[in-house]
């Protein structure tokens, strides 16, 4: 039964647009899937390989700007940004990896955080190239309806899921987890930790960059404040994985669903809507205390808690 679950989920997702959902609902679902992609990408590096990045906006932003710049400078369709971003972000990943991966633990996290910010400031100031804070506007929308965007991001998500699953079940996966658990032990067991950390980072970066290139096409407008955002991209990415479940296949997707819904809901609340960052912070603290392995990772714990409740109900 469990073996068929991914196929059932895929079938449901493939048929979802025929349910006649409103444009707004489709928008929310597209965002959820996009965030699931970023979450899965982050999870490969942060969850499995143990290298916690606070700067995934660096890859999202460069992916987004790859699509934006080929459109604004070369007049090519921004959709070419998808394949091109793979190349650009892979190179970026190697460079950032070279700089940051010589650091361990919190120092790596801080270095990546700095990288994201450096790229944001760079994008704001390279006005001839990026049009600075004016941003890049894609004037022609490819489609009016959401359905094609939906299928494109769904395809990217399925691809990301398969890539992550394939990697984790292979030699690379064993090596990533070994590095996460103990870098010195891994190194002394013949694992070239620098090389494999770089591989994890580059794959993670490329998938994130793909989501960024999609974002440009989908939203039709990007500026550095949005696509290189520290809290709205880098931190939210970590939250999604923490909430859903670190180092689980489905955690990022579950986390993305919950976080996008929560964000929309909280923003719509009167007065406290503007404080959604604060509420996210509180949520994160609660998750760390009660579900340190996330919703998917601690699912048995949740089920048990709910089961207990039910038993109590029947006795009273």
């Amino acid at each position: 039964m469990k073996r068929y679950a991914p196929y059932v989920i895929l079938l449901v997702l493939a048929l979802l647009p025929f349910l006649g959902l409103s444009t707004y609902m489709m928008h929310i679902i597209i965002l959820m899937i996009m965030w699931a992609v970023i979450g899965m990408a982050w999870n490969l590096l942060g969850g499995y390989c143990g290298q916690v990045s606070f700067g995934h906006a660096a890859f999202f932003g460069v992916g987004a700007y790859t699509a934006g710049i080929i459109y604004s400078k070369l007049g090519v369709s921004a959709w070419w940004g998808l394949p091109l971003s793979v190349l650009v972000v892979a190179v970026e990943g190697v460079i950032i990896g070279f700089i940051c991966l010589r650091l361990r633990g919190p120092f790596f996290a801080l270095a990546t955080l700095a990288m994201g910010e450096v790229l944001r400031v760079t994008a704001e100031n390279l006005r001839n190239f990026t049009q600075g804070t004016l941003g890049i506007l894609i004037k022609e929308r490819t489609w009016v309806e959401k359905i094609w965007y939906y299928y494109i991001i769904l395809a990217i998500a399925v691809l990301s899921y398969l890539v992550v699953k394939k990697i984790i079940e292979s030699k690379l996966g064993y090596y990533f987890v070994a590095i996460r658990e103990d870098q010195d032990a891994a190194e002394s067991l013949g694992i070239n930790t620098t090389l494999y950390k770089t591989i994890a980072l580059v794959i993670s970066a490329v998938l994130t960059g793909l989501a960024g290139a999609f974002y440009t096409n989908y939203m039709g407008y990007i500026d550095p404040e949005v696509v290189f955002a520290l809290h709205d991209i880098s931190i939210i990415t970590i939250m999604i994985v923490m909430v859903g479940g670190v180092a689980t296949y489905w955690g990022p997707a579950v986390g993305a669903g919950i976080m996008v819904l929560l964000a929309e809901w909280i923003r719509s609340l009167p007065r406290i809507g503007t404080a959604h960052q604060t509420l996210f912070g509180i949520l994160l603290i609660l998750i760390i205390i009660f579900l340190p392995n996330g919703i998917v990772g601690d699912f048995s714990k949740i089920k048990k808690a709910l089961g207990m409740r039910r038993k109590l109900d029947t006795t009273t």
Binding site: Y174, Y175, E181, E187, S188, L189, G190
Partner: protein, 241 residues
């Protein structure tokens, strides 16, 4: 015949402190060589130099006639030197089997090969029953054996064992000694750090003694056991007088 491992005038300084000072010795193919000395004598530092975690401040390490000092630990492991850690470093959130599979991948071409090799080694080290447990929850004796299993999975020619017997109860001790003897029979050369005198005296072919970073004696267990310098290092001057 070139020795399997040759340590030549190796020194390692930490700031002004000489943790290892001008140490030279050789380990020949098929031997078990014990490395002993009081706490802080520089034994583990010497292991870290051989294994590539530290570069020697002076001197060189040769393996099969090839200079290995300056190489990274993973390169040295690939050449055929595996080690265990005194403070065990299990890959905690991996099962016992996966711990060993991760190291077996060094020389295995497929997952199937890595897993079957790992299972063989778990049988060899008496850990097969525990294969599905997370290594986090294992008792110390088993974690020490898991260290050995993981090192063996890289198919080394030489094994560096750092206090694999410390903290074991008598039953576990006998089991581990059996395993060490079996490892030697399979043709792997062993350099072993040990505080447990009974063990080291019974299994070593030769013993090297370090004190304050310097080599003070080398020889067969009997020679070392009767060496006044060694007795002094362990028991103090009064006892030797």
């Amino acid at each position: 015949m070139t020795p399997l491992l040759e340590i030549k005038n190796v020194s390692r300084f930490f700031g002004g402190l000489a943790a290892v000072m001008d140490v030279s010795f050789q380990v020949n193919q098929g031997e078990i060589v014990g490395l002993i000395g009081p706490n802080g004598a520089g034994k583990t530092t010497l292991f870290n130099v051989i294994n590539g975690f530290y570069k020697p401040s002076k001197g060189d390490v040769f393996f099969k006639g090839k200079r290995i000092s300056g190489l990274k630990p993973h390169q040295i492991c690939r050449l055929g030197i595996a080690r265990t850690f005194q403070v065990v470093k299990p890959l905690q959130r991996m099962t016992v089997l996966d711990n060993v599979v991760a190291s077996a991948y060094l020389r295995a071409k497929s997952k199937k090969e890595a897993v079957s090799k790992a299972i063989d080694i778990l049988h060899f080290t008496d850990l097969y029953e525990e294969r599905d447990k997370l290594s986090k929850g294992l008792p110390l004796g088993m974690r020490k054996r898991l260290e050995i299993a993981r090192a063996l999975a890289t198919e080394p020619e030489m094994l560096l064992l750092d206090e694999s017997f410390a903290g074991l109860n008598p039953a576990e001790l006998d089991r581990s000694i059996e395993i060490i003897k079996k490892i030697r029979e399979s043709g792997i050369t062993i350099l072993i750090i040990e505080h447990h005198m009974k063990v080291i005296m019974s299994i070593s072919d030769r013993i090297v003694v370090l004190n304050y970073g310097e080599k003070i004696a080398e020889g067969t267990p009997e020679e070392v056991g009767n060496n006044p310098l060694v007795i002094e290092a362990y028991l103090g001057e009064a006892a030797s007088a």
